[in-house]
């Protein structure tokens, strides 16, 4: 990755203008902050649109939403929740089956705001390297939290989960939760690129399981036009997901099937050649198929 550009996206800004080169980023930040605000206007201004937090919330007295990963841990301790919590979990699973499993990470999770700042600072100051850890560690973490829940009869990950600590902290009072958040921030900044969200977080790992079969994907209709500027690799929190689709490795179709793609859309923004676009998993862009001949029609494994 020695050729990673220092100012990714500069070309795109020059080509299509600042706004278009930040379109998905702006939308994504609006979504992250907007969701937080929906939760906050209640305690701040007494405007109760949403009650609760990301673990479970109740919107306008009609819409229950439950974090399925949390509910799974609770189920492993042999506790059945009330109906609303089950309905809420079903709604969340269905929703992310549509928009992409780890869309949760990019569009909803408040910790992403923190780790994105780490990533941005890393790029800005050219911080490189750090500890090495396999990206599959998160699945070990996921398994571990489930086993510990089962063995100890507790909702194990809730003891440490930075996601719910930050979200609950902002809404119900932070306490010392900020320490956990600062730890995650520093870890990502100095120890490992995308260390938390990209390697360790079991919440992301759980949602990526939904992402294996989810509908909305990043397609690469213009992959023939790629000029190897590496901008997409520089901004992508999971750069390993791009290569197979961009370079048609083993005849891979022009569509990112890797469940770790967060659907953040940043690659779409920074690409000056408009290689990327959002689209459903069922339609593989035709223009891209032609460049690698018949092999591109290969069905995703």
């Amino acid at each position: 990755m020695s050729s990673v550009p220092l100012k990714p996206g500069a070309e795109a800004v020059a080509g299509k203008g600042w706004l278009l080169a930040h379109k998905w980023l702006i939308l994504r930040r609006s979504s992250q902050v907007g969701i937080l605000l929906l939760f906050l206007v209640g305690p701040w201004f007494g405007l109760w649109i949403v009650k609760g937090n990301l673990n479970y919330s109740y919107t306008l007295g009609v819409l229950p939403l439950t974090d399925p990963y949390l509910l799974l841990q609770s189920l492993l301790t042999f506790k059945l929740p009330e109906t609303l919590a089950l309905v809420g979990a079903a709604i969340i699973i269905l929703f992310y089956l549509l928009v992409g499993g780890r869309s949760y990470c990019a569009w909803t999770c408040p910790v992403n705001l923190v780790t994105d700042i780490s990533s941005a600072l890393r790029r800005r100051f050219g911080l490189k390297g750090g500890a090495h850890l396999s990206r599959s560690t998160r699945f070990w973490m996921l398994g571990m939290t489930l086993v510990v829940s089962l063995l100890t009869g507790t909702i194990a990950w809730e003891m440490f989960n930075p996601v719910s600590m930050l979200h609950r902290g902002l809404i119900f009072g932070m306490g010392f939760a900020w320490m956990v958040i600062v730890a995650v921030f520093l870890f990502d900044l100095f120890v490992m690129r995308s260390g938390w969200c990209g390697h360790l977080c079991p919440v992301g790992a759980f949602y990526s399981l939904i992402g294996r079969v989810s509908v909305l994907r990043v397609q690469l209709p213009g992959r023939a036009a790629c000029n190897d500027c590496m901008d997409c690799f520089a901004v992508c929190p999971e750069p390993q997901v791009i290569r197979p689709a961009l370079k048609a490795i083993n005849g891979a179709p022009a569509l990112i099937f890797d469940a770790q793609c967060t659907n953040c859309g940043r690659c779409i923004d920074v690409c000056s050649k408009d290689v990327f676009a959002f689209g459903p998993r069922f339609t593989i862009p035709v223009s891209a198929q032609s460049i690698v001949g018949g092999t591109a029609q290969a069905v995703p494994k």
């Binding site: 609760g52 673990n55 509910l71 609770s74 301790t77 059945l80 929740p81 003891m159 010392f176 320490m179």
Partner: protein
């Protein structure tokens, strides 16, 4: 020998070894983390004595695994008494509690906190708030409770929503003055809901009556214990056969009569056959003779 074999091993072999080493390292790391998390999770299921759970809460070990830390109960409490535990507080992070001395449960008739709970952490079968068992009030300090000191404070008794059932004032002789009565506050676990209004209202600097989680406040008799008077009532009469005459083992020359107590048998009065032994002197009481 081994070193030689290793250095000649094909590249694929080395890569595989590297992979196995990496994987085991990661597994060990995550395993250790899991161990720490598990131990921490077990510790965190303890409940500090001042923290009282909302009405209908399951017993502590089951509560902290059923509660999904959503805070719906906190939101729907009209008196805003509930808080979600913060990470630095010595209990399961994110679970709801209140501190009676700060703000007690107002015992809402419709129990909105329970209704709001999306899980079984708060038992939805609790329909009457008077049946709640959030904790148990205990008069912890007999040295500072004003009623124990002989005053008529009575505040805990007056504020109790279940007055005369959950808490009563039991008259006792004030042995210090010899002629006054102490009105001792006594809490009855059968009716106390653990709302904490008494603790909140106690006017002493530190409350003399406090609410504790049930497991902490309640004692238990051994299972073979029977209360004589209860058994008597159940049996509809004395369980001791009345025709058996009770014999007292009296010092010589003494007799005992019910209602009168111990007295010296007057000289000349014959002891009833089989009753008190006859005729000693007063000196027998000195204990200088076996």
């Amino acid at each position: 020998m081994t070193t030689v074999t290793q250095s000649k091993a094909p590249v694929g072999n080395t890569a595989r070894r590297q992979f196995i080493a990496d994987t085991s390292r990661m597994a060990c790391g995550v395993g250790l983390l899991g161990l720490g998390l598990g131990l921490y999770a077990r510790h965190a299921t303890a409940l500090p004595p001042a923290a009282i759970r909302p009405p209908g809460a399951l017993p502590e070990d089951r509560f902290s695994s059923a509660c999904i830390r959503c805070g719906m109960c906190v939101r729907d409490c009209p008196y805003d008494i509930l808080h979600l535990a913060r990470p630095e507080e010595p209990m399961s992070t994110g679970t709801p509690y209140f501190i009676a001395r700060q703000a007690p449960c107002e015992m809402c008739e419709d129990i909105p906190c329970v209704k709001a709970c999306p899980t079984t952490a708060l038992d939805h079968s609790l329909k009457e708030i008077n049946k709640a068992k959030m904790g148990l009030a205990v008069v912890v300090d007999h040295e500072t409770c004003l009623n124990f000191l002989g005053l008529r404070c009575d505040i805990c008794y007056r504020v109790c929503p279940v007055i005369d059932k959950a808490i009563t004032l039991d008259p006792q002789t004030n042995v210090r003055t010899g002629r006054h009565t102490l009105f001792i506050p006594v809490v009855h676990s059968e009716h106390c809901t653990g709302c904490g209004k008494c603790e909140k209202a106690c006017p002493t600097e530190v409350a003399a009556i406090k609410v504790f989680p049930l497991y902490m406040a309640k004692g238990q008799l051994s299972s073979h214990y029977r209360l004589g008077w209860v058994e008597k009532e159940k049996a509809g009469g004395s369980l001791v056969a009345p025709e058996i005459e009770h014999r007292y083992n009296m010092p010589e020359g003494m007799k005992y009569e019910h209602g009168k107590g111990l007295s010296v048998v007057p000289p000349g009065e014959a002891a009833a056959p089989g009753a008190v032994p006859p005729a000693p002197t007063f000196k027998a009481l000195q204990g200088n003779k076996l």
